[in-house]
């Protein structure tokens, strides 16, 4: 799931033509001439598996801060994003930090996929966008009916576990500049275009630092001409430079996602 592939994918979806992407030929071969869903997980499913979900998928537009899951409360719906992304946030009384990011490569509601119904984390929309909501009952019964659907979703959960492990690594062993670089690359992978709209306040939660630390890190990346910052909006100017700034903290989960999800489902 490299950035370039995602861009190609988005362009292909917009042009309503199907292209064979490197490493994605097999998943694509299940599809009719035009991809029905921009969400990559849905796009990977066989027509049979998709038929189990399709009647229950409800197209929606979700705003920033829209709450998908509240800590310790039963999850009602899972969300397949087409654009924008959601954050899984771990918290205690007065601290919170992002532990996972889910965009068009996946689906929210990991506890449901694993047979549970809730978690101590919150999940909310971090960057507004559109996608499809699916009631958890429909997800559960589809997973009971189809072993291939179950296998695909569990592989995705493993990809998320790897992402979360690497977030732990980044937050404990990398400096704020590298973490900001990594986060921006992950966000860039999940948006159309080069702009990410968000406040320093949000970014502070995402990176697990105070806002002042975000202000400084943004300024240093701006000085290196890797990003442009305007009020509430960051523009990626030099993706390759950001990869350098991320200093190795970006890339492993993305490569693992490709390894796990490029096979036949």
């Amino acid at each position: 799931m490299t950035h370039r592939l995602l861009k190609l994918w988005a362009q292909a979806a917009e042009r309503d033509v199907s292209v064979l992407l490197p490493g994605k030929g097999q998943a694509m071969s299940h599809l009719p001439n035009q991809p029905e869903f921009r969400n990559q997980l849905l796009a990977k499913l066989s027509l049979e598996d998709l038929d189990l979900l399709r009647p229950h998928l409800k197209p929606v537009q979700l705003d920033v801060r829209h709450v998908l899951e509240t800590a310790n409360e039963p999850i009602q719906q899972v969300y397949f994003a087409d654009s924008g992304f959601a954050s899984i946030v771990a918290k205690d009384a007065d601290r919170e930090t992002e532990v996972g990011m889910i965009g068009r490569e996946g689906v929210t509601g990991l506890p449901v996929l694993l047979g549970d119904e809730q978690s101590p984390n919150d999940t909310f929309i971090q960057l507004a966008g559109s996608g499809h909501l699916l009631p958890v009952d429909a997800m559960r019964s589809a997973m009971e009916k189809s072993g291939t659907l179950r296998a695909t979703l569990l592989r995705y959960v493993h990809a998320m576990a790897i992402q979360m492990a690497n977030t732990a690594l980044a937050n404990s062993k990398f400096n704020v500049d590298a973490r900001l670089g990594r986060w921006l690359l992950m966000a860039h992978d999940r948006v159309d275009g080069d702009q990410v709209e968000l406040t320093h306040e949000f970014l502070a939660v995402m990176l697990g630092v105070r806002r002042a630390g975000v202000t400084q890190a943004i300024q240093r990346l701006e000085e290196r001409k890797l990003i442009r910052a305007a009020r509430g909006r960051l523009t990626i100017r030099n993706r390759r430079g950001l990869e350098k700034a991320a200093n190795g903290s970006y890339g492993v989960p993305e490569a693992e996602y490709t390894r796990l999800m490029s096979g036949r489902s």
């Binding site: 704020v176 320093h200 002042a212 630390g213 202000t215 400084q216 509430g232």
Partner: protein
């Protein structure tokens, strides 16, 4: 609650805080400035400040209120002067 802005002064330049944070009052703003300073220094130390020669102890946090009036200035060096 009033909104306070935490700008960072590095030598001649000032990094603007475009958003600010809502806090109970000047005392809470002072506490936030101290915590932010400690965190910033920790991050710079961890990022190899000692080897880099970067001058961070001349920096300070300047707190302003919604009318852009100065509330307080907290020099980074002050956290070292304690105890």
């Amino acid at each position: 609650m009033p909104r306070y802005f935490f700008h960072i002064r590095n030598n001649h330049e000032r990094l603007e805080d475009p958003e600010g944070t809502e806090l109970a009052g000047p005392e809470a703003a002072h506490e936030e400035a101290v915590s932010a300073t400690i965190e910033l220094i920790c991050h710079r130390l961890a990022a190899g400040w000692y080897q880099s020669g970067e001058k961070i102890f001349g920096s300070s946090i300047e707190v302003t209120d919604e009318s852009a009036a100065s509330v307080l200035t907290f020099p980074f060096a002050k956290v070292l002067a304690q105890g």
